[in-house]
């Protein structure tokens, strides 16, 4: 009896769950068939697709704002996915930012910021698609936040609006596309669509970089040495830091052990994929990579690396705050805006705290300067930031016009330097009329705010047009000198973030590469810590081959070739 009741119950349950499942999933089923057809048609046309014609524009780089304001007659609210939790300082909501308040008044559009928890951004981005509740606008860094099947698929599947169909709503953006010669290659996908609004630097012809190797100048002075330029000099300096000053982590990288490309560039390699003259290469497969790991292994044994590097939380450019503020780090990879005064405003107790930029080291002083191989390729006209719009948005036009506003000079100046009415408080005017941020306001703020909070409160974080000079000019010369050191290196061997794989390529690629990346990370740490002998490097490379690295390189090469043929 009991068993029978139980089995009935089970059967009932199954039936119920089937029904429940159907109800939930029937809806997305219907449009799916149409989108399949679309995907197929675009796939076949991938190779021959030519970029659509961009409308002409008389205006140079948004100098004249061509939007009409207010954008909306009645007040509307747009949701904006804005994964910048770690840049908020002590701000509770980006609506507390003066700039966004000003923009709301100008456009008559209220923005509801959706800020995912720091460190959870990629997961949160994937979840947007699963729940099917996409915000109106999403701020994406495509190497971290990308629809699994790629840019074209995101448009074909009906999630993301194809901006090329709506360029008449975006006159300011169009003026930028016409002003930058190389832009069109990047803003159109392989099948001739526009995934979103890519970010630009206002003026980067001279080359620019706001991150790189930095070293404690006050420590150097104490040990009586100059900024090192070769690997041997680095070793001498780091040894002095350790032996004479007792620095815990003379050189700090990240939990992966290897650096982001700046330090290894002297060996002619990059951390992962890069290209040399159109040919894709993979760092760990190169012979020099072994030499580089041998150096790090040697330094780890000598105590020149952070002994706890493998337990650090960050994989990116972010030093352990506690270690930085308490003089436990001798050199690291850092952002220019953070270097000296930002740490002091955050609570560094040492009054002599001073970091300066170090050039990328070379094997010998007579070698030519290495290339800049920073992997996230932020340092060309187009940055690796793209604002995308939900195709189903009720306010598609307003959302596009709102984003387009950022490409007009009057708006992007306010976004980069502070709003007009803050003249002589947040920014001042140079003799030729252009704006310069006021240094003391940021780094010794009268309201006692730390530098990160000042940035969040008075500017927009990474606005679609960033002023390269905004960070540099406001600094006293000895601080600004760092930017010149970093900007010396030609950014040429990166693979552009706008290179995209088809969804089939992507599926095949991740099938191999997910495991490969885990295997590499694990072994690099082992090689550096000496838990695996570097004599086994050839075995290691053979394992990578067995795991399919050559197929991954081939897939990267295919998509790069398509990009080059755009």
């Amino acid at each position: 009896m009991r068993k029978k009741v139980l089995s009935m119950l089970l059967a009932a349950t199954m039936a119920f769950s089937l029904l429940a499942g159907c109800g939930k999933n029937a809806e997305p089923d219907a449009p799916a068939s149409t989108s399949t057809a679309k995907t197929e048609s675009t796939d076949s046309s991938v190779t021959e697709a030519a970029p659509a014609d961009t409308p002409a524009s008389e205006v140079y780089k948004g100098e004249v704002n061509q939007q009409t304001y207010p954008i909306s007659q009645e007040k509307i609210t747009l949701t904006y996915w804005y994964p910048n939790a770690s840049s908020m300082g002590t701000l509770a909501d980006y609506n507390d930012s003066e700039f966004f308040q000003w923009l709301e008044e100008k456009t008559n559009i209220h923005i509801e910021f959706i800020v995912p928890a720091a460190g959870e951004e990629s997961t949160a981005f994937n979840n947007l698609f699963i729940t099917g509740e996409l915000p109106d606008i999403m701020y994406t860094q495509p190497q971290y936040h990308m629809y699994r099947d790629g840019m074209d698929a995101a448009i074909d599947d009906g999630y993301i609006a194809d901006i090329s169909e709506h360029l008449d709503w975006a006159p300011n953006y169009v003026s930028w596309l016409n002003s930058i010669e190389t832009a069109k290659k990047d803003v159109y996908t392989d099948s001739g669509k526009m995934y979103g609004f890519w970010s630009f630097w206002d003026n980067i012809e001279g080359g620019y970089a706001d991150q790189g190797l930095s070293i404690r100048k006050d420590f150097l002075d104490k040990v009586g040495m100059d900024v090192p330029t070769t690997y041997d000099e680095w070793e001498t300096v780091l040894t002095a830091f350790k032996d004479q000053l007792g620095i815990e982590a003379p050189f700090y990288t990240s939990k992966k052990g290897i650096d982001h490309g700046e330090f290894m560039a002297g060996f002619g390699i990059a951390p992962r994929f890069y290209q040399v003259d159109g040919k894709v290469k993979f760092g760990p497969m190169e012979d020099s990579f072994k030499d580089y790991l041998t150096l790090l292994n040697d330094w780890y044994k000598k105590g020149l690396l952070d002994p706890d590097f493998a337990t650090r939380k960050s994989t990116g450019v972010a030093a352990d705050n506690d270690m930085m503020l308490n003089d436990k780090v001798g050199s690291l990879i850092d952002w220019g805006t953070r270097m000296t005064d930002a740490y002091i405003s955050r609570g560094a107790t040492n009054p002599d705290f001073w970091t300066v930029a170090a050039p990328q080291p070379k094997k010998s002083a007579s070698d030519p300067d290495p290339a800049w191989r920073e992997v996230n390729n932020n340092y060309r006209d187009i940055q690796a930031v793209c604002l995308v719009v939900n195709k189903e948005s009720k306010h598609l036009e307003e959302a596009i016009r709102w984003i387009d506003s950022f490409y007009a000079k009057d708006v992007y100046l306010n976004a980069n330097y502070g709003i007009d009415s803050e003249k002589d408080i947040v920014w001042r005017e140079a003799e030729d009329g252009h704006r310069i941020g006021i240094y003391d306001f940021r780094y010794s703020n009268p309201d006692g705010l730390d530098s990160a909070t000042v940035a969040a409160k008075y500017w927009a974080k990474n606005p679609p047009v960033r002023c390269e000079a905004s960070q540099i000019e406001q600094m006293p010369p000895e601080r600004a000198a760092s930017y010149a050191v970093w900007s010396k290196y030609e950014p040429k061997n990166y693979i552009p973030v706008t290179v995209t794989m088809t969804s089939e390529e992507k599926a095949e690629y991740t099938q191999y590469y997910t495991d490969i990346e885990a295997y590499i990370e694990e072994n690099e740490v082992k090689f550096i810590k000496g838990e695996r002998s570097l004599d086994e490097y050839d075995d290691y490379r053979q394992t990578l081959k067995d795991m399919g690295i050559e197929k991954c390189i081939e897939l990267q090469q295919q998509s790069l070739d398509r990009y080059n043929n755009r």
């Binding site: 089923d29 799916a32 994937n126 706890d308 493998a310």
Partner: protein, 314 residues
């Protein structure tokens, strides 16, 4: 009674009986309803997602629209270079966990049971289960602090001849730290159920044993242990059912590239490919494989137990 023995019972059809039973006890059914609904909605309905393990799942096409690809995901899993390591790590962490964290709470409960001073007994019990209420995030960050290159645990280990640097980033230490901290956190709490089982043993049995001349040790062996044996067996079977179910939360808080070798388990692998890489079809397949192994172990353990000592969970 008598007629029952003589005549074969003619059972009424099931519907009929259900109807009668429902009429008689409808309040009971009403009380049970929320629980049944809970299982239907949260435990049975999501099972439908298993279909994804056999599909090239795409978000847009959904569970019913994605292309069916048969066992391709399983093939990928079984040929993955990490497959055997994942299984091995999962089993070893579970096995060592079972080895230490299953008997120790029992021994702890037995010891407490022998303590005659009530105040002391209560104090020890309270202190021992306090760590249970600390969030696992906090426990792991304590581990990180103690396990750093100059942390407490590393220093103690170096004293005994360890020279591999920070223990928290050493693959050799991962299991010990994982299980040790688990034990510290859960020992007191896990012993509660045994303490209450001990309280349920009939005191007259002890009196009888005493009269028969049994000493304390003999009483423990012949009265106490048999008294809580069913509890132990049922809990053991349930634990065996989770042998492949090492939770991912603590693992992903603790592990890193340097400890993948011993710390990467099936659950954390599912988390990496499923949540981080958004490869939902494949991660469903991995998890399904995991669940099937679990089910087999559970059934086997239950079967053996039923044969050997008549105690089983069904």
């Amino acid at each position: 009674m008598k007629s029952n023995k003589l005549l074969p019972v003619i059972k009424k059809p099931f519907n009929e009986r259900l109807r009668i039973d429902f009429k008689k006890h409808w309040q009971m059914y009403l009380i049970a309803l929320p629980v049944i609904l809970y299982f239907l909605i949260f435990n049975y309905a999501p099972m439908l997602g298993i279909v994804m393990a056999f599909e090239k799942y795409q978000i847009k096409k959904g569970i019913f629209g994605s292309a069916f690809i048969g066992f391709a995901h399983f093939k990928r899993l079984f040929t993955s270079p990490f497959f055997w390591r994942l299984v091995k790590n999962t089993l070893l962490i579970s096995f060592y966990g079972l080895l230490f964290s299953f008997p120790l709470p029992i021994i702890f409960a037995l010891c407490l049971n022998e303590v005659r001073n009530k105040a002391f007994k209560k104090t020890v019990q309270t202190i021992s289960y306090l760590p249970y209420f600390i969030s696992v995030v906090v426990v792991v960050s304590i581990l990180f602090d103690f396990g750093k290159a100059n942390g407490l645990i590393t220093n103690i280990a170096s004293f005994f001849g360890w020279d591999g640097g920070a223990v928290i980033s050493s693959a050799k230490w991962f299991r010990s730290l994982y299980i040790g901290s688990n034990l510290w956190q859960h020992l007191g709490y896990n012993s509660i159920i045994f303490i209450s089982a001990l309280a349920a043993i009939d005191p007259t049995l002890y009196e009888a044993a005493k009269i028969d001349g049994a000493n304390r040790w003999q009483q423990t062996l012949h009265v106490t242990l048999p008294g809580i044996a069913p509890t132990i067996v049922v809990l053991l079977i349930l634990r065996l059912g989770q042998i492949m179910g090492v939770g991912y939360e603590k693992i992903i808080l603790m592990y890193g590239p340097s400890t993948y070798e011993t710390g990467d388990v099936i659950a954390s692998y599912v988390y990496r490919v499923g949540i981080l890489d958004a490869d939902y079809g494949y991660s469903t397949a991995v998890n399904l494989f995991n669940s099937i192994v679990n089910l087999i172990v559970l059934c086997t353990a239950n079967f053996i137990s039923r044969k050997v000592n008549d105690t089983s969970i069904w």
